[in-house]
Symmetry: C2
Subunit: 471 residues, 2 copies
């Protein structure tokens, strides 16, 4: 883009929205050039992520969003919505022509309906702030992604987020009752809260997980829950992952829904719970929430299942420790400084496949040259199966091999997951890191998704480059 | 269509599929010219539903379905999928050029996965037959629409069905893990079972509730549940609907999920439960299912809520009676014979609106000239609200006014629902009877739905005339 054209767009955006809502300060452009995908952090640290967007816009109303989208469409400029920037799959990588929409000034709670149990909130609201305000009113969102201090409501919808308490409260698609979304032509769709969608195809689902490629979510209506009457903590030790997974399977199969169900393999048990772990056992954490009579019955039943499989109680301390530490993670930069590449990879499978999947993905990661450690835990369980959340760290044999080693690890994990019959994604989204595998995941439905994109956004202005693989 | 052209299509279909799979016997054409929408039953009884389809095809494989769709596309013939014919909204009304696909020969159970709790079943499987086979293996589908003896798995997906036990087990969109669907161009999409959809927009949702307008479902993977360890029955009497609704609200708000939660107004309580009803009170039926410790805790807690609101126990007998009688309904013909028009209309609303909605819809129906009775019950509850399932009967002032009286009742109920801020549909679908109100329900999203239809089925061969209103 010519400098003069670039300047024209910037000035025109200021005329449209006001000076205070449009910035091209270098620090702002730098701050919005990526999310928290490891590879782009790595590239940035090494000076290899140099492209910055045209401008950052800070809309304060839905109309601001509509104006930007209409302007972008008229001039064929990409529009990239930006929430907390905490995404880990590379959905945010604006080109030099792109307008980034930083949604965080749209952070009002519009309504808390205490009788019908929902909150209407603008899309730029940060998760922790939302939860604090709900708690002050006696409620919870039930949605606790690890990123809760770093992510926005809009980001949750765009990535199909899952929270740590999902086994009782549900994932974001279970929690969303409605939302407002600006389409690629600037029109606004408003989906009011419904107790159940029954009026034909649930077209709302097109926007959940679309990573900003089909619309810009400006407001959401989410379920809320009265703060639970009681919460009971338990932990159990199992000799291996397969036995721990079988315990979870029996618990959910029997109709129990502990809010938190987390099973760590031996490596992660020793890492996170050194006092409770023998070094070779696998730790299962359980939190039951709800009415006192329910949690008492659930805790007794889950303890019975664990005991029946040889699980040994490790008390409440590991759960307390997890609650304190759960959202503290070292920065990617701290690993990069030590010459180490790392990442987390979440996948899922049905119960008949998941124990084998765990073994095969860990083995595949361990075979990648340079890998130091590969481990995993299950954190979101269902009657049909569970997810495994893998973590790997590798020291490339030479600095030039850093990106290659990282990508080799991803390829190994994705291919082993597919071979084991799993799904290559559980809740981080597709972004850029997974898009090469979206076709394996969707099959012919990938063409359907392309057709929907073509129907809604024929000019391809909304967040190009994420989600959909190149042809 | 010229007679010779009609003959050519029939003969060509037989060449493609074999003689035994294509029929134009008058009895078959008559049997497939409508579903169980009251108005088309009424028209048929009065000799005013004369159009019959071109042919009825009985596919036995997915490939048969693909061949028919490709043939239809090549010749621009409508294709109408037909399950049990139990739909009550008029989704089935094939034109004289249409090919009806009777799916009921595709009725195999492909797999019962007892470990990962799912069943793969062909779309033409009848509900009762599926449930019987699952029970023989120790499982249940958890899905009990009143039509279970008359409806197919494919029909459930196409209408977004809800079962009588939905408050614990979920509606069909919660129960479906995957499916196969033939697109309007003959391609097959296969969605394998996933514990959670996390790979971008959930494109599967486009086909749930599409009433055959976007694809032909040929196989589905549904959740199954081990038969519950225990079931506890309770019933309570409340002085009015508002108090009974408040009891349900508190029960689900507190985190309890009884499988069955049904509240009948005074008219229906007296009609269905004459021994338990005083004639002016409203009866609440509850069934708790699950592990014994869970149902015991749930039954005690729900009894406590009811007592706290002045509810009086009516014991287990009304529940037993409901279980025996629940799927027995008089035929529409029996009313038509008496010169009476009748129907049921299910809508939903959030808790802050539903008591007023109940009052206003009943009042609106009672104001329609000729109405004899208007009543309602709540049968599917959620933390955010519930449905109301209205029933009306009217005696038109003259036989010529039959259709008009019927349509006036529908209009009164739909408009009162919208005025009360409710959703005009809960689980019967849109069909032809509701399509005039789909725009009120969807707003701008109606144009989105039209764009999706255009993208997937530009020739408009799949079940034209249902769901989408005329422009």
């Amino acid at each position: 883009m010519l400098e003069t054209e670039l300047e024209q767009h910037r000035n025109r955006l200021r005329e449209l929205l006001g000076d205070s809502r449009v910035s091209w300060e270098p620090s702002q452009l730098q701050a919005h050039k990526r999310d928290t995908w490891f590879l782009n952090v790595y590239r940035a640290v090494h000076g290899r992520l140099t492209s910055v967007p045209l401008a950052v816009v800070f809309p304060e109303t839905t109309e601001h969003v509509q104006e930007v989208v209409r302007y972008a469409l008229a001039h064929r400029l990409p529009v990239v919505p930006y929430g907390g920037g905490s995404g880990v799959c590379g959905a945010i990588e604006p080109s030099a022509r792109a307008i980034v929409l930083d949604m965080r000034r749209m952070a009002r709670i519009v309504e808390i309906n205490e009788h019908a149990l929902y909150v209407r909130v603008e899309a730029g609201k940060m998760g922790e702030s939302l939860e604090e305000e709900l708690r002050a009113a006696g409620f919870t969102s039930g949605h606790f992604p690890q990123s809760i201090a770093l992510s926005t409501v809009g980001g949750w919808l765009n990535t199909r987020a899952a929270g740590q308490y999902s086994t009782r409260y549900g994932n974001i698609e279970d929690l969303v009752l409605g939302f407002n979304v600006v389409l690629p032509d600037g029109r606004l769709l408003c989906f009011p809260p419904r107790v159940r969608w029954a009026s034909g195809p649930d077209v709302r689902q097109l926007f959940l997980g679309a990573e900003g490629t089909l619309g810009i979510v400006t407001e959401a209506t989410l379920k809320i829950f009265p703060l639970p009457e009681s919460a009971l903590f338990q932990s159990f030790s199992f000799p291996n992952m397969a036995t721990g997974l079988e315990a979870i399977r029996q618990i959910v199969r029997n109709g129990w829904r502990p809010a938190v169900v987390r099973l760590y393999d031996a490596v992660e048990s020793a890492r996170h719970f050194p006092q409770a772990s023998s070094g070779s056992d696998c730790l299962l954490l359980l939190i039951s929430e709800g009415p006192g009579a329910l949690t008492a019955a659930e805790a007794a039943a889950t303890a019975g299942v664990c005991a029946g499989l040889g699980g040994e109680s490790r008390g409440i301390e590991p759960v307390q420790r997890w609650l304190e530490e759960r959202n503290r993670v070292p920065t990617f930069e701290s690993f990069i400084d030590k010459g180490v590449v790392v990442d987390t990879i979440e996948v899922s499978a049905t119960w008949d496949r998941v124990a084998r999947l765990y073994d095969q993905v860990v083995a595949a990661l361990q075979r990648v040259p340079g890998v130091l450690v590969a481990s995993g835990h299950s954190s979101h369980s269902y009657p049909q199966g569970t997810n495994i959340y893998f973590t790997f760290a590798a020291r490339p044999f030479s600095p030039e091999l850093g990106e290659q080693t990282y990508l080799d690890c991803w390829r190994a994990a994705m291919e082993a997951t597919l071979q084991a019959g799993g799904s290559v994604v559980h809740h981080h989204g597709i972004g850029r890191v997974r898009k090469a595998w979206l076709g394996h995941e969707l099959g012919e439905a990938l063409e359907l998704l392309r057709a929907l994109k073509q129907a809604l956004d024929p000019a391809e202005i909304l967040n190009p480059g994420t989600l959909l693989p190149e042809r």
